[in-house]
Assembly symmetry: D2
Homo-oligomer: 153 residues x 4
DNA sequence: TTTT
DNA sequence: TTTT
């Protein structure tokens, strides 16, 4: 049966995106996103609880993330849950769950550091010139993974 | 900042719920849910990809799950992502991600086995009499976690 | 700023889809979907409240709806809210809100009538032969609007 | 059958909230929220399309909205669709759809006007003293409708 | 007008 | 380990 596997997150980045350029013009960006929930415990004290999420963004979307997202950025993201499993050296099953982001939009949060946004020059330097998007979306657009990418997952 | 951490799943149970009655009248039900996605690969062949999710349900909701859900049941669930982390014996960081279900509704899928639904007697036997819900929801209602439960997580 | 306008519905169809074939090979299917909520009022009585939604599905998705959905079908749908407004003959502002469905999946609900599913022959008769999908999705797949359709809305 | 009727919106307010204090300590806040979508048309031009939504917030949540939300505020909101219908003087069926907000969180967007947030004094003046919340949430918390309110809808 |  |  067709299923639904949908995640909606709104939070802040714990660090700048980590971007890797792979063979075949593939790109992946990894993000750490914190979602904080605040509630009152039974004694009436306000408690904050933060959950950290590993996000993975592929393709053209990853380049947008690289260009616009920074540590501290406030982000709305939609995606799906993916759990990798493997056996470690001790023969034990290991699991790691991440969110495959399919679309996101940057919100008003102010990123960390001096530049409130990386200059195109800067980020171009970190990647092959051929990877430069010909028509980059603006910073505050909803960008979507077209999923016509034939990535190996 | 207040965040959003929301998961929406629709799939089928891989096994009957595992229910544990804890001290202090707490109950937890653990479920394995499969969400299957079907798409065409680049050669035009239809491919099915199944993702397995660990669901955790607490309190009165867990009792409803115990009573009505079975291996094969089709389920719509909403909840949030929670990742537990700890150090194993080798001192390595270990992670396990689950979905804390906050509401669910059972869909038309036919559960496995002879009884299409566990009899109240059966499931009552597995738990302290005091835990019997005075006014159980019907099978196909949207049931919600009130979260006034002060559970330790 | 980029926004989010997302609707998630799970309910039953109040009638068969109404399908119209337009010029230029466009197709639109209109559905009426009921979502029922059940809760206890202050006197402890269980109350059911049903909300009716106007769904609109375009393109290839509409053809899938025509082929597989029937009065009574249980449906999970995602889409976005669209409100049309116009002035009536009295010069008053009129509004009508509908859900533009972008993907859906048919659930286990049993449709009405003798056939539990319209035969392809039947539904083909109602539309131009050229509109027949070359590779129709199966009934219980998640089908998505590609939105490369350049429709006038 | 239990259904799902869920709306997720992220956008900006077109005006300050309109708040009404009703008998029996009930409060309702009405908001106009714009969600903007941006895409490229077939000629490659970027097009912006804005959808306006009527939001309705009840009870304690309404008071938080009154206190913190302003024209221009960026808002994430969850709720459900409600359509009112009635007959007008000409005997015609009329419909009006709104979103009953069940939780929201204010994002980083800067509200319009001189004060970036209404002072408690200001907003207290507009309402009966008895309506003052004893322990107001902070501006950027996710606030939720408890729905134990027995409102007539 | 659906469903349980 | 589910489902179609």
């Amino acid at each position: 049966m067709a299923g639904v596997n949908k995640v909606i997150l709104l939070g802040n980045l714990g660090a700048d995106p980590e971007v890797k350029y792979l063979e075949g013009d593939n790109v992946v960006a990894k993000l750490r996103l914190a979602t904080t929930e605040s509630y009152k415990d039974k004694t009436g004290n306000r408690v904050e609880q933060t959950e950290w999420h590993d996000l993975e963004i592929w393709g053209a979307l990853a380049k947008v993330a690289e260009q616009y997202l920074r540590k501290g950025s406030q982000l709305y993201a939609e995606g799906k849950i993916k759990t990798d499993s493997w056996q470690d050296e001790q023969g034990q099953n290991r699991y790691r769950t991440k969110i495959r982001v399919l679309s996101f939009t940057m919100l008003g949060g102010k990123p960390d550091g001096n530049d409130n946004q990386a200059s195109p020059q800067q980020s171009t330097q970190q990647r092959p010139a051929s990877a430069a998007p010909t028509s980059a979306p603006k910073a505050q657009e909803m960008v979507s993974d077209t999923e016509d990418d034939d990535l190996p997952f």
